[in-house]
Amino acid sequence: MRRGITATALVAALALAATACGSDDESGGGKSSGELSGTVTWWDTSSVGSEDKVFKKLAEGFEKKHPKVDVKYVNVPFGDAQNKFKNAAQAGDGAPDVIRSEVAWTPDFANLGYLAPLDGTPALKNQDDFLKQAVASTKYEDKTYAVPQVIDSMGIFYNKKLLKEAGVEAPANLDDLKTAAKKIKDKTGKTGLYLRGDDPYYFLSFLYGEGGDLVDAGSKSITVDQPEGVKAFKAVKALVDDGTAKTDASDGWENMMQSFKGGDVAMMINGPWAVADTLTGKEFTDKDNLGIAPVPAGSAAQGAPQGGHNLAVYAGSKNLDASYAFVEYMTSVDSQATAAGELNLLPTRTSAYAKQEAVDSEIVGFFKPVVETAVERPWIPEGGSLFAPLGIEYTKVLTGQTTPEKAAKATGDEYRKLLKDWK
């Protein structure tokens, strides 16, 4: 009898829980009278303290054009944004209307059904104006799920003063890098390169340099465990072992930026997203001290990954019309020119490069050809998932817990689990 009661109570409790989960309506909106209104919440992922101010101002500019729309700017740290968005989107509660989605996240979110298709909506304007590399990541199964906001790639950032003191040029390949680092150590006592050891994204240019890649989406095969992959792991390990580079497996970003800004290391591999932050460092009060060159070539090739950010609209948004308009506004030529001028970020629209702000930015001028030749990543839903297993093995190689051969094999094995029926 006691059990019976408990069961009844449990059922009642579950029913209660189920009803309590009903969602409550949020600020609706739309354009009943032809004018946009309501609230648009935007999750931005740009770096705090430098980029976020510009984007916040830019986003608030939308309110001037559409006075009835209230733009809520929320900065979510880049490292947390993917998870936070997934949690909120899946729960159907608390997700923003617009998210700044990294290029690899976009197909993943679209595959999970979290994004609204944008074809035929006002979000897409002048599609032909976009760089075709940038558009590639916004497509999933022949539909467009996002609009490219910025595009990027990587280069080697160097401290001109330190390199001059050591009497070396920016290195063109890994051998140059090693000799340069040795001279820098001898002449200035500083370390040559900071190699980020906790984020496998910073490993990609070495992998491409040996002629390898993670996967080949065209032939549906996994390529990271090919001999090129092993060579790439060996190359990064050699850099750390012979003192060319220092690395860190825990606070990678923070230590990299502090060391470079403070002049403790002469070079780092990084992208346009790091420029604004770098220029706040004491070594770079004179902006001209920052030099950027293409990433050093490996034994077979030279290449850096193509990255960037898109703006996507949450499929469950209560205010789709205003969100579409907001996305269009944020990716317009003028907005992109502002970002290029103030933050040295690369526009995704061809016509934005002709704007004075973009022309004046040396960094945009440098990165434009780099982006055009950057290695395109596979735009598959699993694209973002490839980094977790790679990151573990990459860090293990750098900290001496595994050999390059084993690391390449282990990464390949994980990929085969992830990408069923790939070779």
Binding site: A17, N83, N255, A315
Partner: protein, 339 residues
């Protein structure tokens, strides 16, 4: 009460029959069902208990059974039910029975992680216990500034866990951390506290010991103060040495307290998520990954999120800890403890 009534009814009925036909058929009324009777008798008690039962059912029972159920399916991020705006996507995951358990227990990942989790738990608990015991004994004497020391030693407990873990993370930073600055300042090489797998293991244990000492110390101090001082006086009269007094009075006197704190501390350490997660995220590589942080990783960090595997690990953790508690109790009972 009701029992009495029903008996009296039967009795009355019986009397009636005995009296003959004067009152109809005379058969006794059917006995009420057990449940109905319990309800009618104890309804008030049940009503009082109901809120608690409901709350426990919602906050413990539902997640627990849902977790056990998910661990027997192939649920991941792509096939669970989700509602996005007006679109309702139904769940399409399937029941796979014990497959997840077989995979976990035959693969190397679970067993490797379990191995390090055991090393982590045993070393944390034993070091914390020994240090806590030593400090409790020191602070049980009359020494100058005793209350100040006590306050200082409780400090790690008073600071929110994540704050102190972040503080340690700054201290451990290889380039700019205080620890390495002191080392290099005194002419030694810096230590890769969190970047070398072996040092990282040492570092996480050190932080957990630091966090765990106050609890041990306070609990054992309480135990020490409940040992009657007459026993020590008698032992001293008999010429027992300090070690003999510790060995034969303090230790047995502390037994009820220490068995409990060791059990609690083991369970807490086994599942000590914040220290590992905030300090190293299980890294470098997977050198410091314990079972709970790995289970978290399965359901929140990898993509697609693997809910099934995560719940499988969760259930296995629960089973392991329950087994530990049962065995521990058995051993203690066989040694004459009565709890």
């Amino acid at each position: 009460m009701a029992v009495h009534t029903s008996q009296s009814v039967v009795k009355a009925a019986g009397e009636n029959t005995a009296r003959g036909r004067s009152r109809g058929t005379g058969t006794p009324p059917p006995k009420p069902g057990r449940i109905r009777r319990a309800l009618s008798v104890h309804w008030y008690a049940w009503a009082m208990v109901a809120p608690v039962v409901v709350v426990i059912g919602v906050i413990i029972g539902y997640p627990l059974f849902r977790g056990i159920y998910l661990s027997m399916t192939d649920a991941d991020e792509r096939n669970v039910a989700r509602s996005i705006g007006v679109n309702e996507i139904p769940a399409t995951y399937e029941f796979v029975g014990a497959d997840n358990y077989i995979d976990a227990l035959t693969g190397s990942q679970f067993l490797d992680t379990l191995g390090w989790t055991l090393v982590w738990t045993v070393s944390c608990v034993s070091v914390t216990f020994v240090l806590g015991m030593a400090l409790a004994n020191i602070l049980n004497r009359r020494i100058a500034g005793r209350s100040a020391y006590r306050m200082a030693l409780i400090l790690p407990w008073a600071i929110p866990g994540f704050v102190s873990v972040f503080a340690w993370r700054f201290l451990y930073n290889e380039d700019r951390g205080l620890l390495n600055k002191i080392l290099t300042g005194s002419g030694m090489d810096g230590i890769p506290w969190l970047n070398d797998p072996t040092w990282a293991k040492f570092s996480v244990i050190a932080v957990n010991v630091w966090l765990g000492i106050p609890f041990m110390m306070v609990a054992l101090l309480g135990g020490l103060q409940s040992i009657p001082s007459e026993q020590y006086e008698a032992a001293e009269m008999d010429g027992a040495t300090a070690w003999q007094r510790f060995r034969h009075i303090t230790l047995p006197g502390l037994r009820p307290v220490s068995t409990t704190v060791v059990l609690l501390s083991t369970i807490w350490t086994f599942n000590m998520f914040p220290v590992i997660f905030l300090l190293t995220r299980g890294g470098p590589g997977e050198a410091t990954q314990i079972l709970v942080t790995q289970a978290y990783k399965f359901s929140f960090e990898i993509s697609p999120r693997d809910y099934a595997q995560s719940s499988t690990w969760g259930v296995l953790i629960l089973v392991l800890l329950m087994l530990f508690a049962v065995v521990y109790r058995r051993v203690l009972r066989s040694q004459g403890d009565n709890w």
